[in-house]
């Protein structure tokens, strides 16, 4: 009977769409949209690069924005020759590195405690951490001003107009979000792993440093990238809290020193922005390898 059914099947063949054809179409659409995205997102940096290689004469002549007829490195030379730009760069780098370190120290331990050590109110606290992140930073700088004024009045310590003040401020933006994403990542790590460490004789701190952090590296790196990007690109707070030229960070520095009244030094602005984008790019490229490594494989069945 089975043979008869098969025979009947071959008599009237059913048309199946081939798997490889389906896949081919899926690939075509993916490429189409990916190319669209790439064009959309890479055009501005390309424009910056082209403009940075032009002399101010060529920029103001506005012949063809997409082509350099007379390429020059004068913008780079001038910008890097100014001590000012290097100070902005140093300020930005110091602030970002310190913020990343502070954020990670707080977030990793906080996320570990909130994700793992079940204690009274831990769930509410975890929720509270996330809610903090939902408050827009534009609403925070007036209260922060008030707080800084209070600190000055009571202790005499002036927090305004110092680049290192930003190291205190930025974690208010980075810590809640980093803690939140790491709670999520930590929750995906099997709890037997730290339980095994506790039974093997580890304290909570040893379980965290010797077992948990090495396993959670991909999540920690994702948070690091976030914290670095946020503090490197932050514009509003440094604009509000720093004014002296030697205290400025890169994004604010470029805008305030290279735009004089209604004179825009486009060549140097573009150059400065392009050079300023380099550190995050290098960090992404370097950390992505670790990020993809996927260290949890093989810990448990599955």
């Amino acid at each position: 009977m089975a043979n008869a059914a098969i025979a009947a099947g071959t008599a009237r063949p059913v048309k199946y769409r081939s798997m490889s054809r389906d896949r081919r179409w899926a690939m075509r659409w993916s490429y189409f949209f990916l190319v669209l995205f790439v064009i959309f997102f890479l055009t501005p940096p390309l424009y910056m690069l082209i403009t940075s290689l032009k002399s101010s004469g060529e920029i103001s002549a506005a012949i063809n924005p997409w082509w350099v007829y007379d390429p020059t490195l004068s913008n780079y030379k001038e910008l890097l020759g100014q001590n000012q730009y290097l100070v902005f760069f140093r300020n930005s780098a110091l602030v970002s590195v310190c913020v990343v370190i502070i954020t990670m120290l707080i977030s990793v331990t906080a996320a570990f405690a909130l994700a793992r050590m079940k204690f009274w109110g831990s769930a509410t606290l975890a929720m509270g951490v996330f809610l903090t992140y939902l408050i827009p930073d534009t609403l925070l700088f007036i209260p922060l001003f008030k707080m800084f004024a209070f600190v000055r009045d009571t202790t005499g310590i002036e927090l305004l107009n110092h680049w290192w003040t930003l190291i205190i401020i930025y974690p208010t933006l980075t810590v809640p979000f980093c803690t939140w994403i790491m709670i999520g990542y930590f929750a995906s790590i099997p709890k037997e792993l730290d339980e095994a460490a506790l039974i093997d004789g580890a304290t909570w701190m040893q379980a965290l440093t010797k077992i948990f952090i090495p396993v959670a590296i991909p999540g920690i790196i994702a948070a690091t990238i976030f914290a670095f990007t946020v503090s490197w690109a932050q514009f509003l707070y440094p604009l509000a809290f720093t004014t002296s030229t030697d205290q400025l960070v890169l994004p604010v520095g470029i805008v305030t020193t290279l735009i004089k009244g209604d004179v825009f030094n486009w060549g140097q602005i573009m150059t400065g922005a392009l050079l300023g984008a380099a550190p995050p790019l290098i960090i992404y490229a370097f950390l992505m390898d670790y990020y993809i490594a996927g260290l949890t494989a093989g810990a448990t069945k599955g």
Partner: protein, 366 residues
């Protein structure tokens, strides 16, 4: 000496009682298996012994010391988890030596112990591999190795074989038994698989709904269960339960299964059961191997009867036959050559010397 004692141990999760006051004495070097259906509290009990769960009430003592508030690291125990929980960033050697390193054991001593454990478990070749390069069975061995090197007072196993395929499970079961015979450490082993429980345990603890139903050697539990739950839980295929009435007729006690079928109570049990004559809710418990085909030689207390067979399942060494009495599906184990056929009547024999009479109201075996 490492006996483990549980006294009136209770575990409450917000108003839900997971463990409802259990008492248990585990003697030194004993292999105890906690077995029961999922949600019976067996894993919770194990985790309380490990210190991974706080106890809500009662006392747990390891080696005579009450450890209620002692953190896991100071209890001197080792645990093997269901999903192995190997440290993924360390190789096998580092995994096994982690606990010893934390205790600042001298290097040479660590090496000696790891080598020795590796030898016992036959994983000497795997010492520099990472967990992800190991098969399920190998990971299981490493997890056991990590426990053995510590030379703890107590081994705790939490369903260690559940993630392995059927063949490997049987193999690792034997392996665990061998290891225990070599290292003789007090062991508490949790499983939901009654075959695992029977084969491994010195004593089996059957748990149900947060309470201990019965504690005993595998044979005790099998042959003299004290409750209907234990009678039904231990043994595969499970014990048959047939609703019946006990009637006193002409000085003899008989069990009436339905209008047509009644069986005599063995003479040795008459005295034990006579007071239950006429009582409602009685159940006859009889294991499948005590319902067979008729044989030429008759022992006392065997009763032959005719029955129409519903389903026949050949197993090779035996054939399972299913039939219905009193709306209860009954299983018997007959010789493959006895000629059982679905829909056909068959002469069967019940060996009543192995019967159990159960009061279904209290769930107790009478």
């Amino acid at each position: 000496m490492a006996q483990v004692t549980l006294r009136k141990v209770v575990k409450k999760y917000d108003e839900v009682l997971a463990v409802r006051g259990i008492d248990l004495d585990i003697t030194d070097k004993e292999f105890i298996v906690l077995v029961g259906p999922s949600g019976c509290g067996k894993s919770t009990t194990l985790r309380m012994i490990a210190g991974l769960e706080e106890i809500s009430d009662g006392d747990i003592a390891i080696g005579g010391d009450v450890v209620n508030d002692v953190p896991p690291k100071d209890r001197d125990i080792a645990m093997v988890f269901q999903n192995y929980a190997l440290y993924p960033h360390m190789n096998v050697y580092e995994n096994m030596s982690f606990g010893l390193k934390l205790k600042r054991t001298p290097r040479a001593e660590i090496e000696r112990r790891v080598k020795q454990a590796a030898q016992i478990l036959d994983i000497t070749d795997l010492l520099d591999r990472k967990p992800k390069q190991l098969s399920g069975g190998q990971r299981q061995r490493v997890a056991m190795g990590r426990a053995i090197v510590r030379d703890p007072k107590v081994f705790l196993f939490d369903e260690p074989l559940s993630n392995l395929d059927a063949k490997l499970r049987v193999q690792m079961r034997t392996e665990i038994k061998k290891v225990h015979q070599k290292v003789r450490t007090t062991t508490v082993y949790v499983t939901h698989d009654q075959v695992e429980a029977m084969t491994l345990a010195d004593r089996v603890v059957v748990m149900n709904a947060g309470l201990i139903e019965q504690v005993g050697s595998p044979n005790d539990l099998y042959h003299t269960p004290t409750t209907k739950f234990v009678a039904g839980f231990i043994g595969s295929p499970a014990m048959n339960f047939i609703p019946c009435q006990l009637e006193q007729a002409a000085g003899a006690l008989r069990m009436r299964l339905n209008d047509k079928l009644s069986m005599p109570v063995p003479a040795s049990r008459t005295k034990r059961y006579s007071s239950f004559a006429g009582k409602p809710n009685l159940v006859l418990g009889l294991r499948p191997e005590h319902i067979t085909e008729t044989r030429p030689h008759t022992e006392p207390d065997q009763h032959d009867f005719d029955m129409a067979i519903d389903v026949v399942e050949p197993m090779g060494m035996e054939t399972l036959v299913y039939f219905t009495i009193n709306a209860a599906e009954i299983c018997g184990r007959v010789n493959p050559n006895a000629g059982a056929a679905a829909g056909q009547p068959m002469k069967l024999r019940a060996d009543l010397s192995n019967m159990h009479l159960i009061d279904d109201t209290t769930g107790k075996v009478l």
